[in-house]
């Protein structure tokens, strides 16, 4: 099974594809629905997957952005994400991968420490977003953010590339972690 490559196909006309990877099926489905409700000039395709590698029998368009959803309440989802990361081509990490941590609101249920996810995102030099996907308002605003990110990663925003976005998002990182 070969790794997923970012630029393996020609892009569809005015199409942008996002892949949501995570063990929480219900949350992923809800997030996908919120994203499709967003007003967007490009055609959105949302693909859901439990883990990488993806089955190669399916004919899918070029993937522009991958979001790894980690549920802080379960160690299993973190493990799943860590295993999936091995199946990605390194070129993806130039701005086309984002980590999304959910469930940080209810601290008593968290079995995965926040810092673990922060370190993971730092290791792979990718942005980390926090959102409680179970709350509808937060989910809607996160869906908006992801749509904007997706548009940039698909190249539909002139003048900004995925790599530029990476540098821009770098500014919000915790400066103490840079020393790690």
């Amino acid at each position: 099974m070969s790794a997923l490559r970012p630029l393996d196909k020609l892009p569809g006309l005015n199409a942008a594809t996002i892949l949501l990877v995570g063990t929480e099926d219900a949350l992923l489905q809800q997030l996908a629905d919120s994203m499709l409700k967003e007003d967007c000039t490009s055609e959105l395709n949302v693909h859901l997957a439990r883990a990488l590698p993806l089955p190669c029998s399916v004919n899918r368009p070029r993937i522009d952005l991958i979001v790894f959803v980690v549920n802080l309440h379960s160690k299993h989802s973190l493990q799943n994400v860590e295993e999936s990361l091995c199946h990605l081509d390194a070129a993806f990490f130039l701005g086309k991968v984002t980590f999304l941590a959910t469930g940080a609101g209810r601290d008593s249920h968290c079995s995965v420490h926040r810092n673990t996810v922060v370190k993971l995102a730092h290791t792979y030099r990718s942005p980390l977003l926090f959102c409680d996907l179970e709350v509808e308002d937060f989910r809607a605003s996160m869906a908006q953010r992801l749509v904007r990110l997706l548009q940039i990663c698909a190249g539909h925003v002139p003048g900004v590339s995925a790599l530029n976005l990476l540098s821009l998002l770098r500014g919000s990182e915790n400066p103490s972690l840079e020393d790690l």
Binding site: L7, D8, F93, R125, L163
Partner: protein, 271 residues
């Protein structure tokens, strides 16, 4: 360019051709860009894949990012902005789109501001009403206060008592003044006949008793009238000078007793 030469032609049928030409130009440009993309895609598919592990992730990613960023930077520096073909139709269409976007945004702003305005107006009305009510309350409270103040004034018993005392005092003073004035008047105009008796000859009877003044006579009559109201008659004594008695009787100030000519009384002017 052939397109410009056709623009100068005033014939109206060339407009349709212009549009068609513009479209063709755009499509040609798009096709060229797509061919470039396909070439790049072919080159890319020749590069191998590389997966990462936790240990080598950071370093290799950082190196890759440096390379890509420098490549992008040099690309941006090299590139000159490419213009879309300066065709009237294209520009007009683009302009229309931009203006429509602008209009949409301005309409949003307008509606926001209008709703803000309405909210502010409602707030203003509400505050105004509240202010009016407060003023009314203030006025009624003031009236209440004034009413209470007045009540306090009128219900003060000591004040009434004091007022009565002063009234009585005034009346007494007036009475004194009247009596004094009366006394003075009577002395001036109705003196006792002592001097006249001395001047006249001795053929007049000497009165044995001491004559009293008209003032004293009136006093006796007054005191009798008010002291013993059921029997206000005074017996005429020797001390009354007869001409003064006649004066009082003739002027209706004194009255004779209907059965007894020796008794007179003061006329009751107050009844």
């Amino acid at each position: 360019m052939s397109v410009n030469q056709q623009d100068l032609d005033p014939d109206s049928t060339t407009d349709v051709e212009d549009v068609a030409d513009a479209e063709e130009e755009l499509i040609k440009k798009c096709e060229e860009m797509w061919k470039d993309m396909e070439e790049c895609q072919n080159k890319l598919s020749l590069t191998g894949t590389e997966t990462l592990t936790d240990s080598n992730a950071q370093l290799s990613l950082l190196i890759m990012q440096v390379k890509c960023l420098t490549a992008e930077l040099s690309q941006w520096q090299k590139e000159t902005p490419e213009m879309i073909p300066l065709n009237e139709e294209i520009l007009v269409t683009l302009g229309i789109e931009e203006f429509q976007k602008l209009r949409h945004d301005l309409e949003l702003v307008l509606s926001t501001i209008q709703s803000n305005n309405e909210k502010l107006k409602e707030d203003l009305e509400r505050e105004q009403k509240w202010l009016d009510e407060q003023q009314q309350i203030l006025e009624s409270l003031n009236e209440l206060q004034n009413g209470l103040k007045q009540q306090v004034v009128t219900f003060s018993e000591s004040r009434i008592f004091n007022e009565l005392k002063t009234k009585m005092r005034d009346i007494k003073e007036y009475k004194e003044k009247l009596l004094v004035t009366l006394g003075g008047f009577l002395e001036d105009h109705f003196p006792l006949p002592d001097r006249n008796v001395k001047k006249k000859k001795k053929n007049i009877q000497e009165s044995t008793a001491q004559l009293i003044t008209l003032h004293e006579m009136l006093e006796i009559l007054l005191n009798r009238l008010f002291g013993v109201p059921h029997d206000p008659y005074v017996k005429i004594s020797e001390s009354f000078w007869p001409p003064y008695i006649e004066l009082l009787l003739r002027n209706g100030i004194a009255l004779r007793h209907p059965e007894d000519p020796t008794r007179i009384r003061l006329e009751a002017f107050h009844q």
